[in-house]
Symmetry: C2
Subunit: 197 residues, 2 copies
DNA sequence: GTCTATAGAGGGATAGAC
DNA sequence: GTCTATCCCTCTATAGAC
């Protein structure tokens, strides 16, 4: 009995995750979520009270997914800068293969409501004041280390956010696209090292 | 008399540009556009027939703005690779200062409806088959030149798309942010050269 | 051309049966 | 817990006066 209820709740959450993340809050209809979950609209309100409450749950999950990979690696005191660059590139690209809609979703929704960051996660200390930033400043004293963080994340994330444009304009097959992203796991850390020389 | 009608039409378009670009199609209400334009909702339909028609106009404008800077520089047969990298970085960052919401808008809406690209612009030949790409391949024969294009655009665009996160997490003032972006006009071409060595 | 008023559809939420 | 039926508000679009 408990099993069944958890399963239903989980089905709705999974459907919500898919649709919210793909289309954003405003473009998502609760009816679509219910249909995707294979059940009735009323159950959504029964389990989650409202569209907004459900969205908040998905948003928190997605923020965690996006920053959760980053934080522990950035703050590892026992890894070199090079090791961190490689690990993040690999882990992030692998994560984006599985969750390609994540970056655009978070960037878009966060623009509408920047309060989200402070409320759910404490990204401040975890990213900006990280050991990684210290290492960057040590290595290249005359350039604000935030420049490197921005460029690093930009190179990692942009091809996923821009995938439709990329595949729409350059005639790239899915296989070719995957191979390109695979190559970037090595290329981006290599480029970063070059930028930091 | 004609002047007045043109002016009204232009006011609506300006308001639509602002709100659509900031919030996206789904989250935008025609009432908000009318209010922003300082006039009645009915005029929107009088001049543009529907929300969707108005949106199509704004979308086409924005696509042109985003690719219009790129295409002529990429295809200039008489500029060196280095010159192109500098010019694009400078022009793009200046354009993004004025239109900070443009990238996220285009990326988001294009994900929902990738058909837009083919229908409005012929970005294919203009970007992918550009002289710039030939120059990249010449310079670095063993790496797919699309990697450099992606990284270049990623480094340029990402800090604008992620501005709320950046300013929300790192305590960066508006002045500091502007200065960082100003610095990137020189840094990014420099890094690109390093990557292409 | 510009306004007010309103039609008409869609979407979030709930009542109530089972 | 799950379903059907329905309420009610919001939003797009239009009718019609001026």
């Amino acid at each position: 009995m408990e099993d069944k209820s958890i399963s239903t709740e989980e089905k709705i959450k999974a459907a919500a995750r898919t649709i919210f993340t793909k289309k954003g809050y405003a473009a998502t209809k609760t009816r679509d979520i219910a249909e995707e979950a294979g059940m009735n609209l009323a159950l959504l309100n029964y389990y989650f009270r409202s569209k907004e409450k459900l969205f908040e749950i998905i948003m928190a999950e997605n923020l965690k997914k996006l920053f959760g990979i980053l934080a522990p690696i950035l703050n590892d005191q026992h890894k070199t800068l090079d090791e961190k660059l490689s690990m993040i590139a690999t882990n992030y690209i692998d994560m984006l293969f599985v969750n390609p809609d994540l970056p655009l979703f978070v960037l878009s929704e966060l623009r509408q409501n920047p309060g989200w960051l402070r409320e759910t996660l404490h990204v401040d200390n975890v990213v900006i004041a990280s050991h990684f930033m210290v290492q960057l400043r040590e290595k290249k004293k005359d350039i604000n280390p935030i420049h490197f963080l921005i460029s690093f994340l930009g190179m990692l994330i942009f091809p996923f956010a821009a995938r439709p444009i990329l595949q729409g304009t350059a005639a790239i097959t899915d296989d070719q696209y995957n191979q390109l992203m695979e190559e970037r796991k090595k290329l981006i850390p290599m480029w970063m090292k070059c930028m930091l020389e």
